[in-house]
Symmetry: C2
Subunit: 139 residues, 2 copies
DNA sequence: CCATTTTACTCAGCGAGCTGAACAATACTG
DNA sequence: CAGTATTGTTCAGCTCGCTGAGTAAAATGG
């Protein structure tokens, strides 16, 4: 049967699992006015401002995609963008007060709430296998 | 450091790994005029025609998304769509000759080529953990 | 049998990924 | 120092997810 997950290639299982898990978490995020992509970006500037390119690299995303994500964050006033005076090609992206608050709240939620990925029999092994995968597929 | 994958929540690792792996495989597919979404859909009708809703359910995707995917496949002549005479609400989606050929070739590629997910230390465990995840997150 | 509900699909619109191409600012180099 | 290359960002345009709303056909039920 083609419905049988056993017949699916591993890559397809990976994509589908990611989509289903992300959706569950995303519905919570949206209730707080944030998206998954936005949260990931906030994560990378929680400790201090960075250029868009740096954020993009850290998130494993193209510059173009990050450009738009940061634009959304700016419109929501979670982030400010200023031209870096030291290098006027660079945008200095800095988290705002309300951005930091929301970020901390979401991190707390992420930590406290039962993670959708925790339902699995061996979450630790899953984690380390995924880390292997991301490491091996560098951009 | 926020770049350190160890600090990422499992869900984020899952999404990122899926994206990176899918991209690697997708570049091969596109060279043959097919997308990942298209291939998954073809998989479900390789054994015989089905309605769009059935295909959508099998692929864990909404009807709307599948509607568009099938439209693309039809435009590429990999699939034909006809109104089901027994129930005129249903679209009977059938794989074409060239669709079948391309599908078989891609399956062969998928089987023969070193899968991007195979680089991991224990691909079998990864597979079974992913199957657990997809099963637990039903729509 | 007609009215209502359910089913199957489409349309519109959005976020998030991607590529390719353009642009301005900086850095290199002869 | 002028000319070229590199860097950082944006614009345009595509696919693929999603939701919400609309339509036509079929099923239900009073």
């Amino acid at each position: 049967m083609t419905d049988d997950l056993e017949s699916w290639p591993t890559g397809r299982l990976l994509s589908t699992a990611a989509r289903l898990v992300e959706q569950a978490w995303e519905s919570t995020l949206r209730a707080h006015g944030l998206t998954h992509a936005g949260l990931v970006a906030l994560h990378t500037i929680a400790d201090g401002p960075r250029s868009q390119r740096e954020i993009a690299r850290a998130c494993r995303v193209t510059d173009q995609t990050m450009s738009r994500t940061v634009e959304h964050l700016e419109r929501s006033a979670l982030v400010t963008r200023t031209v870096d005076p030291a290098d006027e090609r660079r945008m200095r992206v800095q988290i705002t007060e309300s951005g930091n608050e929301l970020y901390r709240a979401m991190i707390e939620l992420e930590r406290t709430d039962a993670q959708p990925t925790a339902v699995v029999s061996d979450p630790g092994t899953l984690r380390s296998l995924l880390i292997e995968l991301v490491r091996s597929a560098q951009r």
